[in-house]
Every structure is written in structure tokens, then in C-alpha cells.
Amino acid sequence: MTVQTESGRTLVRNRRPASDRAKDALWHVTMLAVLAVVLYPLLWVVTASLKGNRDIITDTALWPATITWEHFANAFDGLAGIPLWQFFWNSFAIAGLSVIGVVISCSMTAYALGRLRFPGRAAMLGIVIATLLLPSQVMLIPQYLIFSELELTNTYVPLVIGKFLALDSFFVFLYIQFIRGIPRELDQAATLDGAGHFRVFFSILLPLLRPAVVTSSIFTFIWSWNDFLGPLIYLYDMEKFPIPRLLQSYSNSEGVSNYGGMMAMTLLSLVPVVLFFLVFQKFLIRGIATSGVKG
């Protein structure tokens, strides 16, 4: 085989024989094949939502013979006279409140646990890590009883209050990891200059924690968007339903007769998460990587 040095594309890499390029190509082919399998279900739902209701059943081809937009028009009509945008708005409201709650409460808790010295700190840190592994099902029933005693069921309070009380140990943990990476000298210097805890936190640490803030916001948004159990337990009125709860009701009541409509709605429910991911994917992947691999 001859040694090819094709101009431009191959950078300064010495000795790249043709067998290497073949390897490269093979690698890309393998990756694309895996990718095609992995993304098939998503591709399928896109095309299924464009097929006529009769075609979905009979036409097994991936690409629709005739494209129809009626399912999306139907989906936007929503369910039981409530337009779809209402459910999207509900989901956005819950997710938005959750993001605010997590960013404020988890970062402050992490500051206390990661920086301050006070009795019981180690025990509390232990609790945070333990709740990271604790099945949340065990708290579900008492929490429900508390919220129904306070007559807060069928409101968004039970869905977001935990975020404001830093109950998401995962994010507390994430912030602690980030805070540990910030040199202690910075806040010691500020303390010497007479800054209190709040000054130190807001003026020094919070700006440096920006990557953690971004990561936790994105994850909170996506997880809250996908959350199903909370809305299933706490919400009864359909006009308060977020998207996943709507999808479940829809699949129970109309899914059988209006298959295409359901697929269109399913697809629409995934769009915000996918868009969010495309915009923020760099932060997300860096965030999840740091949660598992320390420094």
C-alpha cells in the first residue's frame, strides 16, 4: 500500500498509511450503524406522526407514502376542550419554578456543607449522600399525607417545594464538588475584608459556580419536564396537568382511535427536551462527566 498524504484534511499526523484511513472509515461506519439503531425509535415517531391514521396500521415502510399534517393540527386542539398550549404552559411553569428553587437552595446548602464549619456538618453531608441512594418511594406516602392535610394537593406546591428545600441531593452534591474546586483563599480574603457569609456567597462563589448553575438548571428543567409520578399523585384537574400527565390521559381516552394524533402529541412532548439538549449539550455532558469523575 502507498502512503497517502491527502492535503488539508489530515492534520499534522505523521505516518498515516491507507490502512489507517480504512480504519477511520470503518470506525465511522460502525458508529453510524449504532447511531441508526439507537435513533430509530425517534425517527419512527416522526414519520408515524406524518402518516394518515389508516397508513400507520398498514404501511410498515419507514417513510410515509403521503404526508399529512392533520395530526399536529389535532394535537394542538388538546384534550377535553383544553388547548395544548395550556399543558405546555403548565409544564413550563412547574419546570421554571423547579429550576429557580434548585439553583437557590442547592447552591446555598452546598456552600454551608462544603465551606462552613459547624457541629454536625459531617453527619449532614452523610445524610445528603445517603438520600442520593434512598428510594424516594418511602417518602411518598407520608409526604402525600402531609400535603393533603395542608390541603395542598391539586396544586403545584408539592411538586416544587422539595426543590426550594434543597431536597435534590444530586444537585447539592454537584455544587459541593464545584465548590471544593474553588480556592479557599478567595473567600478567606473576602472574609478578612469584612464580608459576611452572604456577601462571600453571592459576590465570590456564585459567579464562579456558573457552570454548576447552568448544569443543574438544565437537568432540573429536563427531569421536571419528564416527571410523571408527582403529577400522577398530586394533580386531579385536567387544566393543571403538565405534558406527561396529559399524554397518559390522552393515550387512555383517545390513543386507540386516534393513533396518529397520539404520536404527534408524543413527538411534541419530546421537542422541548431535545431542543434544550441541542442548545446546552456541551454544558450537560461536562456536568454529568464531573458528577462521576472527580477532578
Binding site: 477511520d24 438520600t131 406527561p244
Partner: protein
């Protein structure tokens, strides 16, 4: 700032203690209840649904966690070989794990694998009359495993970050010594990666015990067909919020806590022997 932590502790530990108490009562959401000692626990162990739920959940954990992790490590290793295009593939593979546990994807899975679904019809072309995999109690759980494996992107990203941190000199030294690929994998990659492997095994296992949404959407409250997708969490939900037997459901929940606690304890114990931290002699 300290009030935040106290609030946290109360809202976590308070409910836990309460639910432990409830598990010793026959508390019913409407009728109330009183102390009945260990009756709930004896009832649980005589409940055929308990064994079904345990079987389904254990089967799921035992299948989904290893397959998902092997798949994610394999793809991570493939990805770590070449730099060009790596971040594109990484992002594309990661994306499904963000939506895999959503109601939407559960509905897609149903459309693909239920009776009369895509797989049923596609295989029908070749003379298949076995119905959709989700309609068949002996394989339906595998479709939920497949859904878990589909979301291999999250552990993959963590593996990939771990692989990037393995010092290249180790491999070069092994090359000099004439080590083969397999040898390098077993002697260098696995030990250097073991903290990350431990983290992934732990998080995936704990997560797998708690799968709810997709199981509930796909199997419903009874885990159809024939209880084959009756996950433990679905059983807790049904007992507590459909039958309103909160005391009994609390006993179920506490058994789950004990089981998960036991499994994590065993894992941490094993990790002490198996996990290698570079720069730390033992």
C-alpha cells in the same frame, strides 16, 4: 443558610420515620388506622403479588444494569479511539437517556412492540404470528430492559470522561512490553476505570430498583400481560394511591429501602477490595 439544611433534614427524615410508623399500622387514607404490629410484614410475605413484583424487579435489575453498562463501556471505548467526530457521536448517543424514562418514549415503545405494533407487523410479513413482544408475558420484561439499555448514553459519557483520564504512558509502556489488546484492557483500562465503574454500577442499580413511569405506562397497575411488568414501585403506587392502603404500602416501601440498602452496602464492601484508586497504595 443553616435553616435550609434543617428544613431538608426534617422533610426527609420526618417522612421516613412516619412511614416506618405507618408500616406498623393498618392506616387507610379514608378510614384511618391503628397499630397492628408486624401484621403488615407477615401479610406482605404471604402476598403472591409481592413475589411477582420482586421477581420482575430483580430480573430487570439483573438484566438491565449489566447489559446497559457493558454497552455503554463498549461504545465509550470505541469513541475514545478517535477524536474527530467524537463529540458529535457522544452527544447523539447521550440524547436518548434524557428522554428514555418519559411518558412519551414509553408510548413509543408501546407503539413499536405492543400487539399490532411495528415489530408485530414487520415480523408478520415473514409469517410471524406471535404478536408483539410486549403482549407476550415471557418476553415483555425484555422490552423494558431494552428501554433501559437504550438510555446507555448517560453512563457512557461518564465512562468516556474516565477513559480520557487514563494516562497514555501506561499504554505506551505496555506496548513496549508487547502486551496485547485484551491484556491492556484487563490490566490497565479496567483497574484505572474502576472508580468510575463503581459509580456507574451503584447509580444504575439504585435507579433500576426505582423505575416507575415507563413500567406504569407500559404495563398499567396490574403489570400486564400476566403481571410480567409488575414492578415493585408500581405495586407500591397501586396499594397506596388506588387501594389507599397506606400502611400496607409503607411496609412494602420499607422492604424496598432495606433491599436497596443491603445491595448498596454489599457494593461498598466489594468496592473496598475491587476498586483501585491511582496514587493510593493499599
Amino acid at each position: 443558610m443553616i435553616p435550609w439544611i434543617i428544613g431538608t433534614a426534617i422533610l426527609t427524615i420526618g417522612p421516613m420515620a412516619w412511614s416506618l410508623y405507618l408500616s406498623f399500622t393498618d392506616y387507610h387514607l379514608i378510614r384511618g388506622g391503628e397499630w397492628i404490629g408486624l401484621d403488615n410484614y407477615t401479610a406482605v410475605f404471604n402476598d403472591p403479588m409481592f413475589y411477582r413484583a420482586v421477581r420482575v424487579t430483580l430480573l430487570y435489575v439483573v438484566l438491565a444494569v449489566p447489559v446497559k453498562l457493558v454497552a455503554s463501556l463498549a461504545v465509550a471505548m470505541l469513541l475514545s479511539q478517535r477524536r474527530r467526530g467524537m463529540s458529535f457521536y457522544r452527544a447523539a448517543f447521550y440524547m436518548p437517556s434524557l428522554i428514555a424514562m418519559s411518558v412519551g418514549v414509553a408510548l413509543i415503545w408501546k407503539a413499536l412492540f405492543a400487539n399490532g405494533g411495528v415489530q408485530d407487523r414487520f415480523m408478520g410479513v415473514f409469517g410471524w404470528d406471535g404478536g408483539g413482544f410486549l403482549g407476550n408475558p415471557s418476553v415483555s420484561i425484555l422490552m423494558l430492559v431494552l428501554l433501559a439499555v437504550w438510555s446507555f448514553g448517560a453512563p457512557m459519557v461518564i465512562f468516556l470522561a474516565g477513559l480520557m483520564q487514563v494516562p497514555q504512558e501506561l499504554y505506551e509502556a505496555a506496548d513496549v512490553d508487547g502486551a496485547g489488546k485484551w491484556h491492556k484492557f484487563v490490566r490497565i483500562t479496567l483497574p484505572m476505570l474502576s472508580p468510575v465503574i463503581f459509580f456507574n454500577v451503584l447509580m444504575e442499580t439504585v435507579g433500576a430498583f426505582q423505575v416507575f413511569g415507563s413500567a406504569y405506562i407500559i404495563g398499567g397497575e396490574s403489570g400486564s400481560p400476566a403481571w410480567s411488568t409488575l414492578f415493585y414501585t408500581v405495586r407500591i403506587y397501586t396499594l397506596a394511591f388506588t387501594d389507599f392502603r397506606m400502611g400496607y404500602a409503607s411496609a412494602y416501601a420499607w422492604l424496598l429501602v432495606l433491599a436497596v440498602g443491603l445491595v448498596t452496602a454489599v457494593m461498598f464492601r466489594a468496592a473496598k477490595r475491587l476498586v483501585f484508586y491511582a496514587g493510593e497504595d493499599k
